[in-house]
Amino acid sequence: MPDNSIYSGGIAMVKIDGGKVRQLREKKELTQLYVATVVGVTTDTISRWENRRYPTIKKENAVKLAEALEVTLPEILEQEEEVSEASETEGYEQEEEKEEIVGYGFQDFLKRNYLILSALIIIAGAAIVIGWWYMNRQEASVTARRLLPQHAAPGKPFPVVIEVETKAENPFSIIIKENMPHGCTMLQSIPPSTTADSTTSTIKWISKIQKNKTLFAYTAKTDPQLGAGMMLKFSGTVTLRRGKGVMADIGGKSQLEITDFHWADTNEDGRIDDSEILAAYDLVGSIKGLDFGQDKIEEIWASSGYRWNEAKHEYTVLP
């Protein structure tokens, strides 16, 4: 076997003289079919070699070609024995190579860009999910939570706010049913309640809501005879009047303690300081028309403090 210095890892190629090959074949009166059979290729390949369409062929095939023509290898070669492993010139193999380039290019594109393609697929998937959620958000749940002070003095008013939130674009009706503890009396509600049953201490609103937050607020006072330390429990539900008529509990705070301190005096130190008055206005200040005792709160804030007068059931504002 001829020595092939680039055989390891590569295909050795040689440059043949197609004209010489034809000359030698015709001189020996050999057919293309015979030569093709000996080499192990097609007659089309022999024809291409002889017509110099693919001047470089596998060295292995060149050796067999020389044997078929009964000559030595150098006699059918052109100037360079070996060219490179890159260009395969046998017709069948070249066709194979062409197909390989086409197929390889597409696979290569996928392999090279798999990260970018993955990212694009994730974005498309997220867009589909977000779009589906957006189209269906009218069916999304309504959430309701109650904002309630920690404590209140017996017989003194305090505010309660119910925040109802939905992402639905179109307005729809809901029923809010708020159950106050026994002995509590509602003083005012914004918006005005649909019904307020003093015997059961229940307040109802039937209202339309749509996207974003809607507030239902009321002020109430407890029984003046209640003693300090008593815990009063609030509960409520919100029912949708569309679709399946889903009912959900009102979340958030549900307990209020009876103490000697003003509801805005959150740290129970006998004063309403800057942070406490700001928090009080943050809770109910935006509800127009709701009287939550703002004058008394500001009076206490502007003073040095207050004391609870048990006998009169009143706050005494200190100078």
């Binding site: 890159a86 390889y104 290569d108 392999k111 090279r112 860009n113 798999y114 990260l115 970018i116 993955s118 990212a119 994730i122 974005i123 997220a126 800057d274 942070s275 008055i277 700001l278 928090a279 206005y281 943050d282 200040g285 935006s286 703002q294 500001e298 804030w301 502007a302």
Partner: protein, 143 residues
């Protein structure tokens, strides 16, 4: 040669992918606080003499309420203020204003003192609940 080309191009796409992925994740997970800004800004239009003027600018979304505090040197009396002072502590010269139902915009607090004060002797502070985070904000006002 083909194999070498594939390796180089793969490296480029991997680098691009590494750059794209954090960007995509950042878009999805960037917190809203990254876009927050000061809701209330104050500056003294006049901070010395007998007439003190403080400009308060409120951005959207406005806080539910706002407390402005100005502290004049002890011994100085505030003869007149617009809007009226809600609370004045003579012992430390601290005057407080409470603003409710605030809308975005600008307003000026004016004080007429009984005696002139020098530059840098007045100081102030604005306090409010941040409408986005709910946190209590205390921001000093310096001339």
């Amino acid at each position: 040669m083909k194999r070498i080309q594939f390796s180089q191009q793969n490296q480029v796409s991997r680098t691009l992918g590494r750059m794209l992925l954090p960007l995509l994740l950042g878009i999805f997970f960037l917190p809203a606080s990254a876009f927050s800004k000061e809701t209330v800004r104050c500056k003294y239009l006049q901070s010395q003499g007998q007439n003190i003027r403080l400009e308060v600018s409120v951005q959207f979304p406005p806080p539910g309420s706002l407390i402005v505090i100005q502290q004049v040197p002890v011994g100085i009396n505030i003869e007149h203020a617009t809007p009226p002072i809600k609370k004045f502590n003579k012992q430390n010269g601290e005057a407080k204003w409470l603003f409710k139902g605030i809308k975005p915009g600008t307003f000026v607090i004016e004080m007429a003192l009984d005696k002139p004060i020098g530059a840098g002797t007045i100081k102030g502070e604005v306090r409010y609940m941040d409408p986005v985070s709910g946190a209590m904000i205390k921001m000093p006002i310096t001339p």
